[in-house]
């Protein structure tokens, strides 16, 4: 594990020298199994920074709040955070030169719920949280400087769509019933959308009231419209950080939907991993003469 002091010193240096105006990192939360995000602007606050087994949050989304900042932001990036930054760069929300990326190879974060149940003395036995167990890119894919040594590759490619296989084996009616059950739980808090680096529209269609695309009633039809519209909107752009599913208070398996779409896109347009290489155009954002056109 990377020494926490190293993080703090670097943050302090960057803030003191004036090279950056803000540093995005993680702090210690209310409980020992929580390390939520922190945004600091003063060198003396650098000591709040932490790097431990519970730095789950993807920090990239916060860059949207500082789009018009006159100055730079330093952001600690795990694999998923760096893909999130690339997502925002590709979507022309953030300029590469306005961020200093400090890479942190990520061993995979632990499941706070299980940690809470198992107790602090069994910290070493606490398994990875699902989103990290599913991670393909634990090492930062883009950075200006790297702390510590790269870790072994993440999930084997053949395991990537295991969750999808379960779903695919269902009949159409079973699939419908499954997703209806899941999205009937939705309370429409929009945590999934708000945490997602791919959801970066200036104004989300779900927030518009004239015209009112999404009705405010929390009923099956509206919930499904919300779920499917969002899934299709992030199609080809989802960086698989799994934050949507982690933050869902109702435990809806949102990543199963996203992964199914990724699998289909990969099958139709060739292998593509969103946010890994900023130069690669998203499959639904480009045209190729060899694209399948079975519907024509």
């Amino acid at each position: 594990m990377i020494n926490v002091q190293q993080l703090r010193d670097r943050a302090k240096e960057l803030l003191e020298s004036g090279e950056v105006k803000y540093v995005f990192g993680w702090r210690k939360g209310t409980f020992w199994y929580q390390s939520p995000p922190v945004i600091i602007s003063k060198a003396e606050d650098a000591d709040k920074l932490i790097w431990d087994e519970f730095c789950l949050n993807n920090l990239s989304k916060y860059l949207l709040d500082y789009k018009n900042l006159d100055g730079k932001i330093a952001i600690f990036v795990k694999g998923c955070d760096s893909r999130g930054v690339n997502r925002l760069i590709q979507d022309q929300q953030v300029k590469r030169e306005s961020v200093v990326l400090i890479g942190l190879p990520c061993p995979g974060m632990k499941d706070p719920q299980l940690a809470r149940e198992m107790g602090e003395s069994k910290l070493n036995e606490v398994p990875k949280i699902e989103k990290c167990a599913q991670c393909l890119t634990p090492n930062p894919v883009e950075y200006d400087e790297l702390m510590g040594d790269e870790v072994a590759a993440g999930l084997a490619v053949e395991e990537r769509f295991v969750r999808v296989q379960d779903l695919e084996s269902k009949s159409a009616d079973e699939k419908y019933e499954f997703w209806q059950q899941q999205y009937d739980k939705c309370i429409r808090c929009f945590a999934c959308r708000n945490v997602c680096p791919a959801c970066n529209c200036r104004e989300c269609c779900f927030d518009q009231s004239e015209p009112e695309w999404l009705g405010k009633r929390v009923v099956t039809a509206e919930n499904q419209f919300f779920a499917l519209t969002r899934a299709m909107h992030v199609a080809g752009r989802c960086i698989e950080c799994g934050e949507c599913e982690r933050v869902c208070p109702m435990d809806i398996p949102i990543m199963s939907l996203n992964k199914k779409i990724i699998k289909d896109i990969n099958g139709l347009f060739g292998e593509y991993d969103a946010g890994v290489n900023v130069e690669d155009k998203p499959p639904l954002g480009r045209f190729d003469e060899n694209d399948p056109e079975e519907f024509m």
Partner: protein
Amino acid sequence: MKIIKRDKLKDLLNSFAKNAQTLAPVKENDTIKFLPWKGQGEIDLSQNALLPPKDLLFPQTEVMYRYTDGGVQGEITDVAAAAERQVIFGIRPCDVRSLTMMDDVFMTKGYEDDYYKSKRENTILISLGCNEPQPTCFCTSMGIDMMEADGADIVMYDLGEKLALEPKTDAGEQLLNDVDVLEDGAAEKPVAKECQLKADAEGLAEKLAQMFHHSYWEDLSRTCIGCGTCTYLCPTCHCFDIRRKNIGEEGFQFRCWDSCMFSEYTRMAGGHNPRPSKKERVRNRFLHKLQYFPERYGKVACVGCGRCVGKCPVNIDITRIIGELREVSVDE
């Protein structure tokens, strides 16, 4: 006092359900929620329900009336009917307190909300004392007794193998007399374990009245993602929006929960938004709980249930905030 063995609980609920819609904490898909008791299901009294019971009196989506759209000939066809009797079984003391705050909002200060009132007056509350709090619980800091529940019709204690029920109102007494699966008995009230999380909001409202423009709100809101998890899981948050849905020549008016965390919450017809960023929205949420509500109703609008503490994706923790607000200097 009446006693029932835990394995006879279903019989008790079946008895209640004969005469009234009976809602009990049931585990469904790994989540505990208050669901209508239909004789089947896994009653789970191990910890509080994830979703607060406010939905049973103030539904997330509620049709108010229906109409036909015929210009001046249009007419209102169907106003929501008066509520039927309901029994809420196993509601925790914190949530009972939250309903008394809902009562303040929907039934006092010269305005009575018929939709709420009709349900409330037909509701019987059977509380369940908490022997052991969750790590996120801090109800005792909010002046709540983990065993008792002012406002409940029947107070229930968890004695392990058995549950003891003590009627507190005539309606509660009547309800217990009407069922035949209970035994008379006496039991000692269990002693609750202490809440680990603490907060002291006493007298904070006066300080907050001078802190509207404080830099604290900017700092606090930085990591908020602006979702509505805290407000929708909160048993005291009660904001709603009223909308219409037209289908051909007919339509209906409905209301649904709303959240001060959302951008369109205060957006006006011309597009102006007096709370343009999350700083103003987060500030509103906490000032509403800790200043405006106490000023209007004489109590802090938090019951220490800990749902927001447990589920906030970025650990914006009201107990920490209360502590920090106590510490900061008003002039900053």
